[in-house]
């Protein structure tokens, strides 16, 4: 009896388990919501968003979804350094200035955002005054004042032990005789003495040198207002107070953020934003291949980082006319180059460096990096999508395939027939390793034997290529490098990689350790010159001197292949955002 009962109980249990599993399976297998809303709209054509604004529209509603395979450094406007966050954060953080949404280099135009007009300089470019627009409000309805802007600059630049991830240009260029300790340590009401706020709508910056591109600096999200009462340092990211057209509905660290309309944003105070979608979703850590599929199925509106589609998607898109019509192959605001170490023998001799310039077959490098879709062959330091670019090719060779004879001549001039050196690349960037391998085989043809040394990306600058002593000790004469501008001007591009003052013992970005008085002087002269044309001329001259000195071998102007969702409206790939679409007004036609 007892035994039988047990069997019955077991059978009953098994039945329940079986029914449960089957129903779970059925539930699991039932069709997913696919949100189909009729046919897919027609694509606008290849590279359409690099020439004009695609699907210009004022249609409101819908959800715009951004996806990325990584996570951003921070959503806090005072703690980020990624171009895509500079671009996106303007939805909740309005800087004093920003870039006009527009295709290609049209996007490089600076326009006032929180400020009513461009900065007014006095004192030869050492003092900059901005007037804020009238009627600005935070998401909670409290008015935005110039003090909130001042506080934002203080917290982001003078408390780097707390908010460490952004740049510190204001710390470098603002006059600071009192050695201000930042708002978290210095609780005085005065704050940083070199930013004055004579009234609630005026803010005056006093610099330690003439800086004529200050409007570019204040286009960083670091000038977006932050109310001091709501700031709790690293935790501010969890409850950011919006000054833009959207505000955070939810934020899950490392997973997802959802933005909804900011009711206290007023279109009258903002000629740039349109506040089109009802909701903006940012999905993080989505598998890269899945993002490509999501974009094509219409589930995602854009890939956030602007690094473009993966290689398998690239092949399938470019092999079909329809697929190609949905892509934009655009410059990514970056130069891929090999830095020649002027402190490692024999590259302290300019002729030896010139031998490398002539020897490298740039077509093989371009092919190794994914072909013309992933980069155009480069011959200048400043890329073409940056203001200040001037076409030149000092070490021209037939079809850019290198000139073995000239290279050997230079090698002879430098007193060598063979050179043994090392070349560094980031091990977790396959295209960089492939490019370095192509360079090695080019160099071998002229008698330069380079051995590949790979280092992890995360420590490339802090521990390896960016540590001059390390490179000298390890005989690293050539270093693979990619560089993008912090703002789209010659100065924004060049000063960190060519200025002798930028050389540091760790985290160095002037990898060649290039110390040239002429270049230093011209950089200083350019930034103090109020005339844009004169500045651009100087940038071209600096570029030429650098190439004369052969400290940088430009390899490719980095390009990306973006998939443009046919559902997305107001799509323009902007040079100001390294080719990314301008995210300010992207809407959707998808229900």
């Amino acid at each position: 009896m007892e035994g039988k009962q047990t069997i019955m109980r077991r059978s009953a249990l098994a039945a329940v388990a079986a029914i449960g599993s089957v129903s779970l399976l059925l539930a699991g297998c039932s069709k997913a919501d696919d949100n189909k809303d009729g046919g897919k709209p027609k694509a606008a054509g290849a590279n359409a968003a690099t020439k004009g604004v695609v699907n210009a529209s004022d249609k409101k509603g819908g959800t715009v979804t951004y996806e990325m395979s990584d996570v951003p450094d921070s959503f806090d406007p005072g703690n980020t350094y990624y171009a895509y966050m500079y671009n996106l954060s303007r939805l909740w953080a309005r800087p004093l200035m920003t870039f006009q949404p527009g295709p290609g280099t049209q996007g490089n135009t600076l326009v006032p955002d929180l400020a009513a007009s461009k900065g007014v300089s006095s004192d030869g470019g050492k003092t900059w005054t901005y007037k804020l627009r009238a009627g600005l409000k935070f998401q909670d309805g409290t008015p935005i004042t110039s003090k909130d802007v001042k506080y934002a600059v203080e917290r982001s630049n003078f408390a780097r032990d707390v908010l460490s991830l952004g740049p510190n240009y204001f710390q470098q260029y603002l006059d600071d005789p009192d050695h201000y300790k930042g708002p978290y340590k210095d609780k005085s009401a005065k704050g940083l003495s070199s930013i004055a706020t004579p009234d609630d709508t005026t803010i005056v910056f006093h610099l330690n040198r003439a800086f004529q591109e200050f409007d570019y600096l204040v286009a960083a999200p670091q000038t977006a207002p932050v109310p001091q009462a709501k700031d709790d340092g690293v935790d501010y990211v969890k409850h950011i107070v919006s000054s833009g057209s959207y505000q955070f509905q939810s934020y899950e660290e490392g997973q997802k953020a959802v933005l909804v309309r900011n009711k206290n944003w007023d279109a009258k105070t903002d000629p740039l934003r349109k506040q089109l979608p009802d909701k903006i979703v940012i999905n993080l850590k989505v598998n890269a291949e899945t993002i490509d599929q999501d974009l094509q199925s219409g589930k995602a509106t854009a890939e956030l980082t602007g690094l473009g589609v993966g290689s398998s998607t690239q092949a399938s898109l470019l092999n079909s006319a329809d697929g190609k019509a949905s892509t934009d192959n655009t410059f990514g605001g970056r130069l891929v180059y090999a830095a020649l170490n002027t402190k490692v023998k024999p590259f302290d001799n300019v002729a030896c460096r010139k031998a490398v310039e002539y020897a490298i077959d740039k077509v093989s490098v371009q092919t190794a990096m994914g072909g013309p879709v992933r980069g155009e062959i480069a011959s200048t330091v400043v890329p073409p999508d940056i203001t200040g670019y001037e076409k030149a090719d000092q070490y021209a060779s037939a079809d850019s395939k290198g000139d073995v004879a000239k290279a050997k001549d230079q090698l002879k001039a430098c007193g060598h027939t063979t050179i043994n050196t090392n070349i560094s690349a980031r091990s977790d960037r396959q295209s960089e390793v492939d490019a370095a391998t192509a360079i090695i085989s080019s160099l071998k043809k002229v008698g330069i034997n380079a051995t590949l040394k790979q280092y992890p990306q995360g420590k490339y600058f802090t521990d390896y290529a960016g540590v001059p002593k390390f490179t000298e000790k390890q005989n690293i004469g050539i270093m693979m490098m990619q560089w993008g501008a912090d703002w789209p001007s010659g100065y924004g591009f060049l000063q960190q990689i060519l200025n002798s003052k930028a050389i540091s013992q760790s985290g160095n970005t002037n990898l060649s350790q290039f110390a040239n008085k002429d270049v230093d002087a011209k950089l200083a002269e350019a930034i103090a010159n109020p005339d844009v044309a004169a500045r651009n001329k100087l940038y071209a001259e600096i570029d030429k001197t650098t190439m004369d000195q052969a400290v940088i071998v430009p390899l490719t102007y980095f390009k990306v292949l973006l998939y443009r969702s046919p559902y997305a409206t107001n799509v323009a790939s902007s040079a100001a955002w390294s080719g990314q679409y301008d995210y300010l007004n992207i809407g959707t036609t998808k229900k």
Partner: protein, 335 residues
Amino acid sequence: MISYILRRTFAAVILLLVVSAVTFAIFFLLPRLVGQTADQLAQQYIGKSPSKADILAVKHNLGLDQPVYVQYWHFIKGIVAGADYSIGPTTVHCDAPCFGYSFKTHEAVWPQLTSRLPVTLSLAAGAAVLWLLSGVTVGVVSALKPRSLFDRTFMGIALAGVSLPMFFTGQLAILLFVFKWPIFGRDYVPFTENPQQWANTLLPAWCSLALLYSAVYARLTRSGMLETMNEDFIRTARAKGLRERKVVVRHGLRAALTPIITVFGMDLGLLLGGAVITESVFSLPGVGQYAVQGITDNDLPKILGVTLLAAAFVVIANLLVDLLYAAADPRVRLS
């Protein structure tokens, strides 16, 4: 039994301490031994061109200016008694067990782990049920009819399953069943929120994982069963007139179960510590994805947290396995 569990728990704590010390040494001591300075380490968590004062302040905030043994002591103390972190204007108390504070995002690690654990748990549990059921069933049937068409077909599939990597089967499953024929969704929601969507999203991941794992179980079960079914006691059972089902399940399978339980415990424990590749392929916000992020950012506390969690799960799973031995095999005594 209780004293056995207590002894094993004590041993487990010692083991975890050793694991934590080794992990800590790998991340904090080894780099120093090969010449990395605390300044260089700190600099990885600051943006470009930091001043000396910035580096010094960050070093102090992250505790990197202290000797490694003091840092380890603070870490262990945090797990037992919690810790206070004062970074910037506020002092945050991190409750025990405090697994440290992310160097990059300044978020406490433990709450992040616990918030991600249900995802990993859902993935591991669903997949485990599937692979155990399918693997053992296939193994038993194959063993009962060796060299039959069923045996050869399913053993072939099992072999393919174990040879195909997750980033292939997973991607293929997504491409076919999520995008080409949209049967499954890919927006994970917790079970409590919407069980249907939960299962709908996880099923491709479960199946892909199960395909990978069930092969081992099928093969283990098959060989175990083949051996057991030739034993004398099976013949005796049959001679007693027992039904074939009872002979196979009660006498045959039960005896062949011990190695399966052993492997199952290890597999499940490891998976609970984060199915790194599966979670990345299926974009599931679980512990494995957190580990990947920690490694990408070189965010040491995150990596340390996940390692310890995984170690704890493996230790616990092994303890459970040992207890289950007694249930599966009456000859085993826990003493």
